[in-house]
């Protein structure tokens, strides 16, 4: 059993981690983790609806 970790995965927007477990012949487990959290839903709570357009456009700049 060997675990292969790729962290960071590059050439993407944001942060991603890949964890793969293999037993020599096949892959037994593969996991993807988004390793960054901002919580836009929480930030938007209770705000003026018109401001949502300004805030949500900052989710991704690519």
């Amino acid at each position: 059993m060997a675990t292969i970790v790729i962290d960071p995965v590059t050439r993407i927007e944001g942060h991603l981690k890949v964890t793969v477990v293999e037993d020599g012949t096949s892959i037994t487990s593969a996991k993807l983790s988004g390793t960054m959290f901002r919580g836009f839903e929480n930030i938007l709570k209770g705000r003026n609806p018109r401001d949502a357009s300004v805030i949500t456009q900052r989710i991704c700049g690519v």
Partner: protein
């Protein structure tokens, strides 16, 4: 990546440096500095991103007429690490950054994009281990890389003052780099007070959401030529770009003096001539924050298609209000961004 010649890059530098008030003779030094640096392989640069949207990287790579991005990033800056642009991934990427940090200790440029999460010891943002630490959080990596850097440039509103990720309601304890690493303000900061004081002396804040590419490249060109930090305000913003308020150069300012305010944003008005007339009316009563916002957007504009001319458009010309995206306290202190009159 679009290839553009070195000549075009130099022309761009002249323009950016011109805005900083550098003379023609110092401009010759840009050429020399670039020639010198490319013979040495460029200024080693590590670019890390925390709670970011990568918009700051995009603004730099999107600057149409300048766009020797390949030249700037690989020739002039010798980018050792940038998780959106580099080819290597995983351990290879981390090792490249760690090697650069060790080899060029005290000389490399650290560019930070995105806020630094401080809650739960920084657990809301893991970026791998470019600093070679077992701890993968943005908080620890930033502290380690910043401690060894020769110059730290915080690019964008998130890295400077916290920006949108630090807005009210956020649970992640997002802060700008200076605040996040300040042990007096952040209990979880891994940095010692003395290290933070040294960091403050080698740090430049370039706010904006996103910042104008001229601000980023101009600051770097200025540093290459003079070897010194530019004149800055107390919030570490270069005065050449953030020294005056938005209203100072705004096309609509005349109507503010005569109290002829716009009652609607341009887009809501029907008829071309009525829209054009509205373009000259001050948007203050619709919530424009131009009176307090320090920026040169109204004279610079955005998305330039030709050299030495102002860009194609920007927020206020497009009929939207200035929402203070270069000011500390954005967004909470400037909400609601716009309102009906």
């Amino acid at each position: 990546m679009i290839r553009i010649t070195r000549r075009e890059f130099l022309k761009y530098c002249s323009m950016a440096a011109g805005a900083l008030g550098l003379s023609t003779s110092t401009l010759m030094n840009v050429d020399e500095a670039l020639a010198l640096d490319s013979s040495l392989g460029g200024v080693p640069t590590i670019w890390i991103a925390g709670q970011a949207c990568t918009g700051c990287t995009m603004t730099l790579t999107n600057s149409i007429y300048y766009n020797t991005v390949a030249e700037l990033l690989l020739g002039t800056l010798d980018l050792k690490y940038h998780d959106t642009l580099m080819a290597a991934a995983g351990d290879m990427a981390n090792d490249a950054a760690t090697a650069a940090m060790t080899t060029f200790s005290g000389q490399y440029v650290l560019v930070v994009e995105g806020a630094v999460s401080t809650a739960l010891g920084g657990a809301y943002c893991n970026i791998g281990s470019p600093a070679g630490l077992a701890n993968e959080t943005m908080l620890y990596n930033t502290a380690e890389l910043a401690k060894n850097a020769g110059l730290v440039i915080c690019v964008g509103q998130c890295a400077t003052f916290g920006g949108i990720p630090s807005a009210q309601g956020s649970e992640t304890g997002a802060k700008g780099v200076l605040d996040a690493l300040n042990p007096a303000k952040t209990a979880s900061s891994p940095m010692l007070s003395d290290d933070w004081k040294l960091l403050r002396k080698k740090l430049i804040n370039i706010p904006g959401c996103p910042p104008h590419p001229d601000w980023i490249v101009g600051t770097i060109a200025n540093f290459l030529v003079t070897g010194k930090l530019p004149r800055m305000d107390v919030m570490k913003r270069p005065l050449s770009y953030f020294g005056k308020t938005h209203c100072f150069a705004c096309d609509r300012y005349e109507s503010q003096k005569t109290h002829d305010f716009a009652s609607q944003i341009d887009g809501e008005i029907s008829g071309e001539s009525a829209q054009l007339a509205n373009k000259l009316k001050c948007l203050k009563q619709l919530g424009c924050k131009g009176r307090v916002t320090k920026t040169d957007c109204p004279s610079r504009w955005w998305n330039s298609a030709t050299k030495n001319e102002r860009g194609v458009n920007y927020c206020v010309n497009a009929g939207f209000v200035c929402h203070a995206c270069t000011q500390p306290g954005f967004p909470d202190a400037y909400m609601p961004f716009w309102k009906l009159r």
